[in-house]
């Protein structure tokens, strides 16, 4: 993230807040009309803060709905969105898994719902700390998935999400994921934008006619979600979801540029952010909060004379195919660090599988090192990330992979007790 220059004149307020509170402010600034909520650690304070806003009249006209489970939460969000409202919800880990059936429905019905995920490790063993395996299990649902790597980015990405999701050529729901506790429960300064400027940036709230593809009107009843026979257009409707993802890539880039012009904070090209990649020989790709810390590690190693760089993946879906090929062609060795698991995968963690798949047939001869680390909130320190960059440099110079690779994957930071 590049900080805003001082010459932006809108009235803005900077508050020191937790990541979850930043998410709540994001929903408030976007003037969401319906919030459905069920608490789950580490997401709870998002919906707690929103209930406070709704209770003390800071969100006039917003319906705050409580439910008995995440499945009902998403079902209600779908209902509210189908009726033509801007909707928001948030969950984590096990809650997301419980929501899963409805997650598919939201994408199939092409409803521009925005949901934040404070990611946590799946149980058992019971775990509530940062691990992106939960959100990555929604990879094939048709939702757009982005990762926020800072408190400010959580707030900013929610605003951008509504603009991208509600585009009439896209109309897809979107997840904004960030690490549980690492971002959700730590406090940092977040610039909250002037409401008029946000209103100006976002598309207008849907009127009584709702979204362009569906509206509920008792005068003219309609039905959607009904049965399609195998000879019907089912394949074609699925293709349309995929096609919306392909055109969303350009839209994301455009919206990110527009956001930068309006508010002064930039997020690379929208899909990825490169850091010191100009003359880098080796690089590492991260997502979520560890991508921010990796920039520090790169700075430190640059001071020691290493030609290293790093890349922050902002979007898992749509996947930035062209950008990944571009960065892979720049460097000789690319590490892909996953704070998530893809059990039994032939190529490391979930994102390293994607990167390897993209590079097959692209002509890039880049060596890829899949790294799995930091699962279930295990701390990944600056020194560990610097060591990862050194491992990649050694791979570049000598062709030597780390000794303790397991099935082609480097599990970094495993405990070894005496």
């Amino acid at each position: 993230m590049v900080e805003a220059k001082e010459d932006f004149t809108q009235e803005r307020e900077t508050k020191i807040i937790k990541g979850n509170v930043a998410a709540a402010y994001g929903a408030k600034s976007a003037r969401v009309q319906v919030i459905s909520a069920y608490p789950i650690t580490p997401q709870t304070t998002v919906v707690e803060k929103l209930s406070e806003f709704a209770d003390n009249g800071e969100m006039p006209g917003t319906q705050y709905l409580k439910f008995e489970s995440e499945h009902s939460v998403m079902a209600a969000t779908i209902g509210a969105s189908t009726a033509g409202t801007r909707t928001f919800t948030a969950t984590s880990g096990q809650g997301l898994f419980y929501m899963y059936e409805m997650v598919h429905w939201a994408a199939g019905a092409r409803l521009p719902i925005v949901t934040t995920i404070a990611s946590r490790g799946p149980a058992p063993p019971w775990n509530i700390w940062a691990d992106f395996t939960d959100i990555i299990s929604c990879r094939d649902t048709g939702w757009m998935i982005s990762f926020a790597s800072s408190h400010q980015e959580i707030y900013d990405d929610i605003l951008m999400s509504y603009k991208i999701s509600e585009d009439h050529e896209i109309l897809l729901p979107k997840f904004v994921a960030y690490g549980g506790f690492t971002l959700s429960h730590t406090s940092k300064p977040v610039t909250l934008e002037d409401q008029d400027a946000v209103d100006d940036f976002l598309p207008p709230l849907p009127d009584e006619r709702g979204w362009p593809h569906i509206f509920l009107d008792p005068e003219r009843p309609m039905m959607h979600g009904n049965l399609i026979m195998p000879s019907g257009f089912y394949n074609e409707f699925r293709l349309k979801i995929h096609y919306a993802h392909t055109i969303a890539k350009q839209k994301i880039k455009d919206v990110t540029t527009e956001f930068e012009k309006k508010f002064g904070r930039s997020y690379g090209n929208g899909l990825i952010e490169e850091y010191k990649m100009k003359d880098a020989e080796v690089a590492i790709l991260n997502y979520g909060e560890l991508a921010m810390q990796m920039e520090e590690a790169v700075d430190d190693l640059r001071n020691e004379g290493y030609k290293v760089g790093c890349v922050k993946l902002r979007y898992l879906r749509p996947f930035p195919v062209e950008d990944i090929i571009h960065i892979a062609n720049k460097v000789k060795v690319l590490g892909v660090a996953d704070r998530a698991t893809a059990f039994g995968s032939p190529t490391g963690g979930p994102v390293s599988s994607e990167v390897k798949a993209v590079l097959y047939g692209s002509g890039a001869s880049t060596k890829i090192l899949p790294i799995v680390m930091g699962l279930g909130g295990r701390e990944v320190g600056l020194e560990q990330q610097k060591n990862q960059l050194k491992v990649l440099t050694k791979l570049n110079e000598t062709g030597e992979f780390p000794k303790d690779m397991i099935e082609g994957t480097f599990w970094d930071g495993l405990l070894e007790l005496d």
Partner: protein, 112 residues
Amino acid sequence: MNKVKWKNICEDKDKRPEVQEYKNWKDLPPIPISFPIKGSIGTTGDWRTFKPVIDRDTCTKCGICWMYCPEGTIIRNKEGEFEVDYVYCKGCGICAKECPTKSIEMVRESEV
């Protein structure tokens, strides 16, 4: 890149055609939508095994059959009498079961 061609259904709500024809996936809207049209899945009266026959002599015109019919195929005529729309009545028998005066008899179609 192919331009998406589907039409915004909210724009001209009253001008929407009853049936839209699509040649390929690019013309399709994002989701399939159905508007209720009488008999859109065929004449469901064909499904019937038993046919409800109303006995006009004992019928008190209470309207309970009309309320209970799940398909809306019992129709009240101008004289206030109830008739069955046999084109769409599936023959479920709920009207006969609920009739307080037992004025509706379910007759096997082959015996009619």
